[in-house]
Subunit: 228 residues, 2 copies
DNA sequence: TAATAAAGTATTGTATGGAATCGTTTTGTG
DNA sequence: CACAAAACGATTCCATACAATACTTTATTA
């Protein structure tokens, strides 16, 4: 385990939530590695709290799919095979189609301009070559669409699916040295949304995700080949 | 609250899991009503356990979307508006499309025969007019498809979505006095799966769900009209 | 020596007590 | 009487102690 987890004792949130957020972030960042055991006393000491909130946080991680627990043997960070990843991506594809179709129906001037500014942010970040900002801007773009889809449950599910492939979020922009294509696709999506052409926008979205799928797949392949 | 929740202390499962299952079932059956508070000591006494496993079970229900908790004010059974229901159905529609398309790719003789026997069970139940068995058989039919889709994560999500509309599961067969249509659609789905005609089977599936949507919608409308 | 039993340690599971917080009722004051 | 303040009760939240279980190491026996 990568030393010092620290609570960003943000708040007046219940400790369990703070612990939950902390552990989730650690898992997503890879500080807690897949397969690593989540031992209560250990974590409790590291975070300076008792076992109780740790246990509750673990129950939450469990339901989120980020941890797996075997009764009386404890929890560990969930592992993911390539098949798992592919399954997740498949679902995301289906749900992103739904999201963009709904977004298309609900499109407003305001959303369009939000999408445009996300594109600008993307372009700026790409010009500066700042991968972190690029990913951020891309997320923002898609989040506008999710919001426009006006289906909170859908948003939660997609968010959760994204979480499960969070580790690979940089890879697909890293590999796509030319961001031109992504930008192009974003532009096309906006155009489609403006025209209200669901079918068109749906197709673009599929193609758009397909790139990501490819990139992630390559990374995994590499990992599974090298790692034991 | 409808008196005596009882633990079906099935097992050597951790108490939290037994409690979780018990509470979930109670919520799904409507014994714990939407909006009803889930108070720790209260439940602990009723189930004859301490507060600890209750709390952990509540954290799990929370992540499942069956309970909502406000920090320091406790948890309550999640309420659902018509909009929520519609959102859920929309997602199910998208995911059932994915499931049936994948099932189509993976179809085998064995699955086909499982589907056929589910249909027979459905027909028998329908002839006897046993609503409970009808629903059971219908579930079985669709579960075969989910299994054939070979995507465990998809299955979990769909299962969760179904949970959220569990209360209404009887309504749509109750309303559809003529089960002939359902049977007809099931038959068409099987035919499509045998031919491996994804597009066709996809369309049937959408239509098939649409009936359910209508029935559920009617029920909700009635409720929201009457109830406060 | 190999296999098995026994003892000891580490870790999870459950119960319980005390502190903090939220609501409600009661009291006090203009 | 109206309204603020204070006291009380209920409930969540967290910590901790004890019990049960799983794992590891040591000891015992064939």
């Amino acid at each position: 385990m990568k030393e010092d987890l620290k609570l960003d004792t943000d708040a007046f949130l219940p400790l369990r939530d703070v612990v939950f957020n902390t552990l989730r972030d650690s898992i997503l960042k890879g500080e807690l590695e897949p397969g690593e055991r989540l031992m209560e006393i250990h974590l409790a000491n590291k975070l300076g709290v008792s076992r109780t909130p740790i246990r509750e946080a673990i129950r939450m991680l469990e339901q989120e799919g980020l941890a797996v627990t075997i009764p009386r043997k404890g929890a560990q960070v969930a592992k993911m095979t390539e098949k798992d990843l592919q399954d997740v991506l498949e679902i995301r594809d289906a749900l992103d189609e739904l999201a963009v179709l709904n977004a298309c129906k609900n499109m407003t001037e305001d959303y369009i301009s939000q999408l445009r500014s996300s594109m600008v942010a993307f372009k700026n970040a790409a010009d500066r070559g700042n991968v972190r900002d690029i990913v951020e801007a891309d997320e923002q773009f898609h989040n506008v669409i999710y919001k426009a889809a006006d289906n909170p449950k859908l948003m939660v599910i997609i968010q959760n699916l994204k979480e499960q492939m969070y580790r690979y979020r940089y890879e697909y922009v890293k590999d796509n040295a030319n961001y031109a294509q992504i930008l192009q696709e974003h532009a096309e999506i906006i155009a489609g949304l403006e025209k209200g052409d669901g079918e068109y926008v749906k197709e673009i979205m599929h193609a758009h995700l397909e790139n990501q799928v490819e990139a992630v797949r390559d990374v995994i392949r590499g990992q599974e080949g090298s790692a034991k």
